[in-house]
Amino acid sequence: MTNDRRRYIESNPQNCSGCRLCELVCSTKHNPGMTNSKKARIRVMIEHRENKNDPRVCRQCPEHPCLEACPVEAIRIPPGRGIPIVEAEVCTGCRACVEACPGGFMYFDEDANAALKCDFCGGDPECVKNCPQNAIFVKTAE
C-alpha cells in the first residue's frame, strides 16, 4: 500500500445511456489498432426491460483481493503506481482473481486467455474522457 490518496473511476448509473462507448475506447486504448468490447476493462451491465444501465469498473480498493488470489503472481503493484496491474504474459487464465473480486469488477479476455483489470490508464482514463453522458468520473477517496 502506498500513502497516496486512492483515485478510481466512480459511476453515476442514472446518467448512463448504455452506449458502451467506454468499452470500445478502453479496448482500443489497450489494444492499439483494434476495437473489441470483449477486451474492455470497464463493462456496462444493461437490463433493458428494467431500464437499468450500470457501468462497472474496478474501484482500486486498498485490499487487493485480486492480487492475493493470484496463484502465479501475475497481478503486481508496479513501483510508483499504487494499483495492481495484470501482467497478461504471466496470467495463466485461471480466473481466481475474477472470482475473488468482491465487486465483480474483473473481466476475462477469452481471446487472450487472460484476466482484465482497470489500470486507470496511468492517471487519465480514456473511458472517462469519452463518456458522452458523464456517467463515469474520477474520484479521489478521502
Partner: protein, 617 residues
C-alpha cells in the same frame, strides 16, 4: 494489403430440417470496394441468391444480416441491416436496426450472415465465433419477442446478442419485424415473416474477436473532431433531448402529419401526443445504440407503470397516434409495446388499422365483421385490441394481417382509393400533398413507401432550390438526398446521427473509411459514384422482379384529392406533377424515361455489368 475494419467473411448457413449446414466464404475482393458492405454488398448477395423464381416465403429466400467495415468502431452508433425479398412488396428489402447485435456479428468474425432453408420444427441459431448450432426453440414458439429475448438471455448469458421474431412472424404477417435488444427493430417489410417461414424463432450471436483499425490514433483525433461538430450542430441537442419525436413539432407546423388515414395533414390533438407531452408525462431516460454519443431513444413508462417501452418514435406517434385519431400519449406507448411484443412494424400496423377505421366510418365494414369492435377513429381500446388480433391472424385481424393493399382487395367497394401504400408498403409519417418532393421520394424508394432513403420535408431553401407545391428542382433534391445516405448505409453507421448531430459531409465519411479500412485514396467523389451504383443496383433487382415506371406511383388519394387543411390546403398534386418529377428523376439516374429501367450505358458507367448482366426491357 490486408484490409482493416472488415471481418473478411460471409457466413453462409443452410437450415436443413433438423440440422444446419454452413460454410464461410471470403469477401469478394474484386467487387468489395465497388459495394463496400451493408446495403451495397448485401444487395449483391441478394441479387445473386434470390431471383424471380424465389418467392419471399420460400426456403430459398435468404435472410441476410449485413454489417459494414465501420460497424462496431467507436465512431458513431452502429447498425446492421436485414436484407431479404420482402413478403410485403415482393421486392428488394433492406431494414436497418440499431442496438448491439451489429458489433457482435463482427466480433464473431463475420461481415454478413446469410440464412437460407427451413427448419423441421421451431428452432433458433446459436453462433459463437466458429461454432454454429441449431437449437430447439419449441419452448419459445408463441412467446412475445420481448419474453423470447429475456428467456434466451437467461439461458445464454447477457453477452449473447439476439435477434428474435414475435408471434406475427410465426404467423407470416408480411409486416412482421425482427427485434434485438428488446426495443430495436428491423421494422419494415416483413423480415420477421421470412424468419417465421423458416421456423426460425431467433438468432443468437456471441463473438470474442476484435475489429482491426488502420489508423487508431487518427480515429481518436477524428472522434474529438466529431464531438466538436456535435456541440456546434443545430439539431444535436434536440436529438438527444427528444429523439425522433421532435419531428411532431415540424410536421404539424407544415401540415404533413398523417391524420385519420391521411384524410388530413393536421391533428387537433397533436399537443397531447407531441414530444413535449412525451417528455413531461412518460419519459424516464435516454438509451443509446452501440457507440453512440447522442442517445436518442426514450425509455418511457405509462399507464401506471404497466407499459414500459423504449419509444414511441415519431413514426409510431404519427401512425398509431394521429393517423388512428388517438390523442393520448400513454395509449400510443401502449400500442408501441404491443407492436414490439407481438413483433409487428408500427408504421404498417398503424396504416392498416387506420384504413379499417376509415372503411368502418364510411360504412364499408360493420361491427359484425369487426368482431364487435367499434372502429371509429380515436377509439384507443379498439386499436389496442386489434394489434394482437392482427399478429395472431384472429378473426377480423386476419382481414388486415396481409397489409393494406390486400385488405383493400378483400374489402373492395372503392376502398383501394384510400389504401395508403406504394408498391405494397404502407406509408410512414409524412403527407406528401403538403410536400410534393416527398411524393417523388415515396414513388422511387426501392423498398416502396419509405422515408428512410430521402425525406425531403422542411428542407432549408438555402440548401436546395425546389418547389414544395410543384416539380422544379425536386428530382435533383430527392436524388441527392437518397445518394447522401448510401455510403453511410454501406458502413453501416447511424445515418441520423451522422447527418443531424455531426452534420457530416461526404468527405467526413470518406475520412472514416480511410482511417478504419486503410483506403488511403478514397474520396468524396468515389463515394458519390458508390451511392449511384448501389441505388441503381437495388433498382435492377426490382426491375428483374417486374417493377417498371407504372409502379413508381402514389396512392390515388395523394394524386387526386385535395388536402383539406394546413399550408397545402386545396392543393392537388395530380398525375402531371408526378410524371414531370419522374421524367427528370430518371434522366438524372440514367434510367429509361419510358420504362424506368436503368439503361445499358448507366450499368456500364457504374461498373455493374458483371453483377446484373443484361436487364429485361
Amino acid at each position: 494489403m490486408k484490409l482493416c475494419g472488415y471481418a473478411g467473411k460471409v457466413l453462409d448457413i443452410q437450415l436443413d430440417g433438423e440440422k444446419v449446414v454452413w460454410k464461410t466464404e471470403p469477401l469478394e475482393e474484386k467487387i468489395l470496394r465497388r459495394l463496400i458492405g451493408g446495403r451495397g454488398y448485401g444487395a449483391y448477395l441478394l441479387y445473386r441468391l434470390a431471383g424471380p423464381t424465389v418467392k419471399p416465403l420460400d426456403p430459398a429466400n435468404p435472410v441476410i444480416l449485413s454489417t459494414g467495415p465501420l460497424t462496431g468502431t467507436p465512431l458513431a452508433g452502429s447498425k446492421f441491416v436485414s436484407i431479404t425479398k420482402s413478403p410485403l412488396t415482393g421486392l428488394f428489402l433492406d431494414s436497418y436496426s440499431g442496438g448491439e447485435l451489429a458489433g457482435e456479428i463482427k466480433y464473431a468474425g463475420y461481415d454478413h450472415i446469410v440464412i437460407r432453408g427451413r427448419c423441421a420444427f421451431p428452432s433458433y441459431l446459436y453462433i459463437e465465433n466458429g461454432k454454429i448450432e441449431l437449437r430447439d426453440a419449441s419452448h419459445l414458439w408463441g412467446q412475445s419477442a420481448l419474453d423470447t429475448e429475456e428467456t434466451l438471455k437467461k439461458e445464454l448469458g447477457s453477452e449473447a446478442k439476439i435477434l428474435v421474431t414475435g408471434p406475427a412472424g410465426e404467423n407470416l404477417v408480411p409486416f412482421a419485424c425482427v427485434c434485438t435488444d428488446y426495443y430495436h427493430q428491423s421494422g419494415r417489410g416483413g423480415v420477421g415473416a421470412v424468419m417465421g417461414s423458416k421456423n426460425l424463432k431467433a438468432v443468437a450471436v456471441r463473438g470474442s474477436g476484435g475489429i482491426t483499425l488502420a489508423d487508431s490514433a487518427g480515429l481518436e483525433r477524428f472522434r474529438l473532431y466529431l464531438i466538436e461538430k456535435f456541440k456546434k450542430s443545430n439539431y444535436g441537442e434536440l436529438r438527444v433531448k427528444y429523439g425522433t419525436t421532435y419531428t411532431t413539432v415540424s410536421v404539424s407546423s407544415i401540415g404533413v402529419l398523417p391524420t385519420r388515414n391521411f384524410q388530413q395533414g393536421t391533428f387537433e390533438g397533436i399537443e397531447k401526443i407531441n414530444c413535449f407531452t412525451m417528455k413531461e408525462k412518460i419519459w424516464e431516460s435516454d438509451h443509446g445504440c452501440l457507440g453512440c454519443q447522442a442517445p436518442c431513444m426514450n425509455f418511457v413508462r405509462g399507464r401506471k407503470g404497466k407499459v414500459r417501452v423504449a419509444g414511441p418514435e415519431y413514426e409510431t406517434i404519427a401512425l398509431l397516434g394521429s393517423n388512428v385519431g388517438v390523442d393520448d400519449i400513454e395509449a400510443v406507448a401502449w400500442f408501441n409495446e404491443l407492436c414490439d411484443a407481438y413483433g409487428v412494424d408500427t408504421i404498417s400496423c398503424g396504416n392498416v388499422i387506420a384504413f379499417a377505421m376509415e372503411c368502418y366510418e364510411r360504412g364499408l365494414l360493420d361491427q359484425k365483421t369487426t368482431d364487435g369492435l367499434d372502429l371509429r377513429f380515436g377509439n384507443a381500446e379498439a386499436v389496442g385490441a386489434l394489434i394482437p388480433k392482427i399478429a395472431k391472424r384472429e378473426g377480423f385481424g386476419n382481414w388486415l394481417a396481409d397489409g393494406v393493399r390486400k385488405a383493400a382487395e378483400r374489402i373492395g367497394k372503392g376502398s383501394e382509393h384510400f389504401s395508403i401504400h406504394v408498391k405494397g408498403m404502407e406509408i410512414p409519417g409524412y403527407e406528401p400533398r403538403g410536400a410534393y418532393p416527398m411524393g417523388l421520394a415515396y414513388a422511387t424508394a426501392t423498398r416502396g413507401g419509405c422515408h428512410r432513403r430521402a425525406k425531403p420535408v422542411e428542407i432549408p431553401k438555402n440548401r436546395f432550390q425546389y418547389d414544395n407545391f410543384g416539380y422544379q428542382g425536386n428530382a435533383e433534391m430527392v436524388k441527392k438526398l437518397q445518394d447522401a445516405r448510401e455510403p453511410i448505409h454501406c458502413g453501416i453507421l447511424c445515418d441520423a446521427l451522422l447527418r443531424f448531430c455531426f452534420e457530416a459531409d461526404m468527405k467526413d465519411v470518406a475520412d472514416m473509411y480511410r482511417m478504419v479500412v486503410g483506403w488511403e485514396d478514397i474520396s468524396a467523389q468515389e463515394l458519390s459514384t458508390l451511392a449511384e451504383r448501389v441505388y441503381t443496383l437495388t433498382r435492377c433487382y426490382n426491375v428483374r422482379e417486374g417493377t417498371r415506371r407504372k409502379d413508381d406511383t402514389l396512392p390515388p388519394r395523394f394524386l387526386h384529392d385535395p388536402l383539406p387543411d394546413g399550408p397545402g390546403k386545396g392543393k392537388i398534386m395530380g398525375d402531371d406533377t408526378l410524371n414531370r418529377m419522374l421524367d427528370e428523376y430518371y434522366d438524372l439516374r440514367g434510367w429509361d424515361r419510358r420504362t424506368g429501367v436503368p439503361t445499358p450505358e448507366t450499368i456500364r458507367r457504374l461498373d455493374l455489368e458483371e453483377i446484373v448482366g443484361s436487364l429485361p426491357e
